[in-house]
Symmetry: C2
Subunit: 148 residues, 2 copies
């Protein structure tokens, strides 16, 4: 199979042996792997320690930029919505994944899969407390600053 | 206005003065602020440096757990989809936000708002490269380990 996906999958398998979750990712540019990531939830307290985000952060720090336009993501498992948005916001436009969410469910980990319905319900439960009284308006402050 | 939201909004305004984006967040438990976060995109290369995630990570490291069940999030701005999923996965069930996405758009920053349509389009562009040949199956490896 594709050599970059193979590497992402190998990272995932090694992470399982290391006591972690079965996810790995590599980021590629110009035919070279420039960053690797594994799911770090078993060793660091950080809910965002998914393989894709771990690889992206490492690369962003290294190249001193959040702009990953032109970089390609290979993730061993289908990226979650959190990582999707992070990738989109970084400018990554090409994403390949190995194992589908169906495979996760079939292996007996349906609890680990967050459904869109669950997210939608959660989002609908968020409540707005509009700004009032004696507080500065941060977005307006930002707008004024930007226009200077 | 609500004192916790006021604090989140003050963090956001101060972040603008510090050269950053207009977003702050506080996490509350039992009537006390236990963690604060600001948007760090102006000072760290990490696309996930949103106020909510920054506060969550700080707290998760401090309490040595990813489980934030029972904690309440106050974010100065409406949380993005990335932070929504991170909060949901951490067990946060109560979320309040101050400024809406409409206010961001009205202030002239519509480019900063990622639409669900853009995300959907991005997700549909992701391609699967199913596992084949001589590679271990990480999810099956994980399932076997779990059953032991």
């Amino acid at each position: 199979m594709d050599k970059f996906m193979k590497k992402a999958v190998e990272l995932a398998a090694n992470n399982v042996r290391d006591g972690g979750e079965p996810y790995g990712a590599v980021i590629v540019k110009d035919g070279e792997i420039v960053a690797e990531g594994i799911n770090t939830l078993h060793k660091e307290y950080d809910i965002s320690g998914h393989a894709e985000l771990v690889a992206m952060r490492k690369l962003q720090k290294e190249i001193q930029s959040n702009d990953l336009t032109g970089y390609v993501m290979y993730a061993s498992g289908a990226p979650c919505e959190m990582c999707q948005v992070a990738m989109y916001n970084s400018g990554i436009k090409e994403v390949y994944f190995g194992q589908s969410l169906d495979e996760v469910v079939e292996a007996g980990f349906s609890e680990d899969v967050t459904t869109q319905e669950e997210i939608d319900q959660f989002v609908q439960s968020m409540k707005q407390i509009p700004l009032s009284g004696d507080v500065e308006n941060p977005i307006q402050l930002y707008a004024k600053r930007e226009n200077k």
